[in-house]
């Protein structure tokens, strides 16, 4: 017996028992779900490989929404719509409603206190480092109200709205410096500004008749992206497009004006033979600041206003009513298109500097020296009707959009690009038909020192009968061309809502590594318990609510009629794509909470009775059941024992 009790035998016995134990678990049947087990016979994991589009797309497009007021996002080359980042206009689906006090504050005019929910986005400007995109922020301007917003590209959410002071609105050109330290926006719609400004620039404006004045507005951008007033330069003219130079044109701001006539109605605005292209020396603006040749207004005591006479600025004639103003990748060529003509002027900035040095002036207007156009131009191209904007690729070509011709013309640039394309410069090399009427166009990185090339997207203003009829108001058409092939090949078309002006296109590698899937805000509040607080002095109910599949906690709270209700919601979710919403029956209240996000909403409890609030995102199988109640008690019936206590 003693011989039997060897470690081997014991080990065998226990191993046997162990295997037995494991077998028990395997043999006891797990109850199958009958209907699902039938489905399983046919089930393939996914109809397409998971993440197919996420893996094949090369670029993100950030397209201004125009009168939609935000920023569209889609992927290229899939042309798959991804998002509409709300910026100036509330959008409940994308979680941007002024019921949230933080958002309301951003949307409130700092000078009038008025909530402004209308806007018109025009020119996205992606942040840059050393002249190329870095993927940190997208800045976007609002032409109508005169604002610039910053969108954080880790979260695709608006994080600041900057208001241009001293104007009523009407800005247009918007461009960012190669190091993202400075943004310039142009005042397009002429103003009758504060008398302090009129006195400082020495132009008295008749507010009824004009002529009015305008200028350019500089915005400083801090390391964290925060925008603040830098300076305003006011002068006699309006300015349309803006570029902050780089490379050969580094240190200069370049602008156009289509109303050098200083007219106040359409026809007189193209009365002249030509309009002007302006070159502003940034160092001279900084010097005027340092020399304190500034005034400030009561409205904006921190915005130094400079007269155009106190800065170094030159101009040169360009084809009438310029629209496009774009700088080639090395910063050498400045191409402008005369929208009311068939002409594109190619101005060589090296020649501009030489002409300034050699004083090749042909006159002056409003104290600004006019550079001889023959001394600064490399070419004047007659390419077609209604030229709009210009972009550049990595092979030495410019692409010019034509509104009236409804096409894009590809044009080889002059030296040093001839080494790349080996063609006769400034002659049409390809024509890309568009459907219809090209406004802006974009090449990935097309306004940077290093374009990525490969594609052109034509953002057409009209679609006519391209897509299924959908009433008199028609959608817009973004057309993707592959420009690695000659002739360029139309790859895809996408119907996208009204109405993109400029877009910028950035490689996915600059966005996806920083892309956040959740916010970290909720972590700081993890220890706070859900509760309801009653403030009888302020007549305010404050609800601290947690939100997680599929519960609001508290799921009921009582409120005396007429009191203000402030609900702070904390999403306890961490799972990807698990956004919840808060919509209150019968009230103008909607909020949206991404994973880990904290949001606040406010309203006044006006009507007595039961009001359900519910999640507006289909978050789980119990989504419909994810709801709760606000019970409003007529104020004369309210008693403190009606206060909601959690756990009771």
């Amino acid at each position: 017996m003693k011989g039997w009790f060897t470690p081997v035998a014991v080990a065998a016995l226990f191993l046997g028992l162990l295997v037995g134990t494991l077998a028990v678990g395997l043999l006891l049947p797990a109850t199958p779900l009958a209907p699902v087990s039938q489905v399983q016979a046919f089930q393939k994991p996914y109809p397409m490989p998971h993440q197919y589009w996420a893996k094949t797309d090369e670029f993100y497009v950030f397209a201004s929404g125009g009168q939609q007021g935000g920023l569209y996002v889609y992927g290229v080359p899939s042309m798959k719509y991804l998002s509409e980042i709300p910026v100036f206009v509330p959008d409940q689906a994308w979680g941007w409603t002024p019921e949230d006090p933080e958002i309301r504050k951003m949307m409130t005019n700092p000078w009038t206190g008025q909530l402004v929910t209308r806007g018109d986005t025009h020119h996205p400007a992606l942040s840059k480092t050393k002249g190329v995109y870095d993927g940190r922020w997208a800045f976007i301007n609002d032409k109508m109200q005169g604002r610039v917003a910053r969108v954080d590209l880790a979260t695709f959410r608006t994080s600041q709205i900057y208001w241009v002071p001293n104007i009523s609105g009407g800005i247009h050109g918007h461009h960012i410096a190669p190091d993202s330290r400075l943004i310039v926006v142009n005042i397009e719609h002429e103003q009758s500004p504060d008398p302090v400004i009129q006195r400082h620039i020495g132009i008295q404006v008749d507010p009824f008749k004009g002529p009015y004045v305008a200028g350019i507005n500089g915005i400083r951008v801090a390391d964290d992206g925060k925008m603040s007033n830098a300076w305003q330069v006011w002068g006699p003219w309006q300015y349309d497009m803006a570029r902050i130079g780089w490379g050969k044109s580094d240190g200069w701001i370049i602008t156009t004006s289509y109303n050098t006539e200083r007219a106040t109605s359409a026809v007189p605005m193209f009365a002249r033979e030509q309009d002007y292209l302006y070159f502003w020396n940034i160092a001279s603006i900084e010097k005027a600041l340092a020399d304190k040749k500034v005034v400030t207004t009561a409205q904006a005591p921190d915005m130094p206003v400079i007269s155009w006479k106190d800065v170094e600025v030159y101009m040169t004639p360009i084809p009438l009513n310029p629209h496009g103003l774009d700088i080639s990748p090395t910063g050498k060529y400045i191409l402008t298109s005369g929208k009311a003509t068939t002409l594109i002027a190619a101005v060589d900035f090296e020649k501009v500097l030489q002409a300034i040095k050699d004083r090749k002036f042909v006159g002056e207007e409003f104290n600004i020296k006019i550079l001889d156009q023959n001394a600064v131009r490399s070419a004047t191209m007659d390419l077609g009707m209604g030229p709009t904007h210009i972009e550049f690729d990595d092979q030495g070509y410019a692409y010019v959009g034509f509104f009236v011709d409804s096409d894009i013309k590809k044009v080889p640039l002059g030296e040093p690009y001839t080494q790349l394309h080996k063609r006769e410069p400034w002659k049409v090399a390809d024509v890309l038909p568009a459907h219809f009427s090209v406004g802006h166009l974009v090449v990935p990185g097309g306004d940077t020192a290093q374009p990525y090339g490969k594609y052109v997207i034509s953002m057409n203003k009209l679609t006519k009968d391209t897509f299924l009829p959908h009433g008199p108001l028609r959608t817009e058409n973004h057309e993707l061309f592959n420009i690695r092939e000659t002739p360029a090949k139309l790859v895809d078309q996408m119907a996208l809502g009204p109405e993109t002006h400029y877009s910028q296109v950035i490689p996915v590698s600059l966005i996806t590594p920083r892309s956040q899937t959740a916010y970290k805000e909720a972590r700081a509040l993890a220890s706070e318990k859900p509760r309801v607080e009653y403030d009888y002095n302020a007549k305010e109910v404050r609800v601290f609510m947690t939100v997680v599949r599929s519960f609001f906690t508290p799921e009921v709270f009582n409120v005396p009629q007429g009191w203000k209700v402030k609900v702070r919601m904390v999403s306890q979710e961490t799972a990807l794509d698990m956004t919840h919403g808060f919509a209150l029956d019968g009230y103008n209240v909607v909020a949206s909470l991404d994973p880990g996000e904290v949001r606040e909403v406010e309203w006044t409890a006006e009507k007595p009775g039961v009001n359900w609030f519910y999640c507006i995102w289909f978050c789980s199988e119990l989504h419909m059941e994810m709801r709760g109640r606000m019970i409003v008690v007529p104020s004369q019936e309210w008693a403190p024992q009606m206060e909601t206590k959690l756990g009771s």
Binding site: A11, L28, T31, L33, V36, V548, S620
Partner: protein, 195 residues
């Protein structure tokens, strides 16, 4: 100079103690709503870890909850019991008469843990929330090692690195005990076969 057996037993003790730092058992759930990841639960000798909250949000439909209720001091017992296995192996290196207990004890412990684990899983699948939405789903028993399929939610249950280290330690100490016994019985044929 240390004998080879002593060195092996010291290594065994280290293996068993190191196992404390690693999960003993892992459950990994794959559900269609989580294409980008597995939801995992890790059982260490001293804690539960993993996507506990998310697991419960999926499990609510079925009526399961993790972690299952554990007796007071469970993790203390678990860690100390594993630590003791290492201690016995260490002691056996210097006290040959402790070799047999050092060999048997980890096997007993392993068996006990496996039995407890399977029982817990039985409880997990049999103490379903009476208010679960899928009330028609009958109670079930997930295997300690194996696959549980509930509709399109598939859960894989596997021992993890901690168990592997512990089993390796148990195997080594048993091998030493076995060799020691053979040496004392002087059975040269088997000895030669092993050599």
């Amino acid at each position: 100079m240390m004998r080879r057996r002593q060195v092996v037993l010291l290594v065994t003790a280290v293996l068993i103690w190191v196992s404390l730092a690693f999960p003993y058992w892992t459950a990994a759930m794959k559900a269609p709503a989580y294409p980008e990841q597995f939801l995992t639960l890790q059982l260490y000798s001293y804690k539960y870890d993993g996507d506990v909250d998310e697991w419960n949000r999926v499990g609510r439909l079925v009526g399961v909850r993790v972690p299952p209720p554990l007796p007071d001091g469970f993790f203390t017992f678990f860690s100390l019991a594993v630590g003791l296995a290492g201690l016995l192996a260490l002691a056996a290196a210097f006290q040959e008469r402790l070799l047999l207990p050092a060999a048997l004890y980890p096997l007993l412990l392993l068996l006990a843990l496996a039995a407890w684990g399977q029982y817990s899983l039985y409880e997990y699948g049999h103490s379903l929330d009476p208010l679960r939405p899928l009330r028609y789903l009958e109670p079930f028993t997930p295997p300690l090692v194996g696959v549980l399929t509930l509709g399109k939610i598939v859960t894989y249950h596997v021992p993890n690195l901690g168990s592997a280290l512990f089993v390796a330690g148990a195997a080594l100490v048993n091998l030493q005990a076995w060799r020691a016994r053979h040496n004392s019985h002087r059975r040269p044929v088997l000895e030669a076969a092993l050599a």
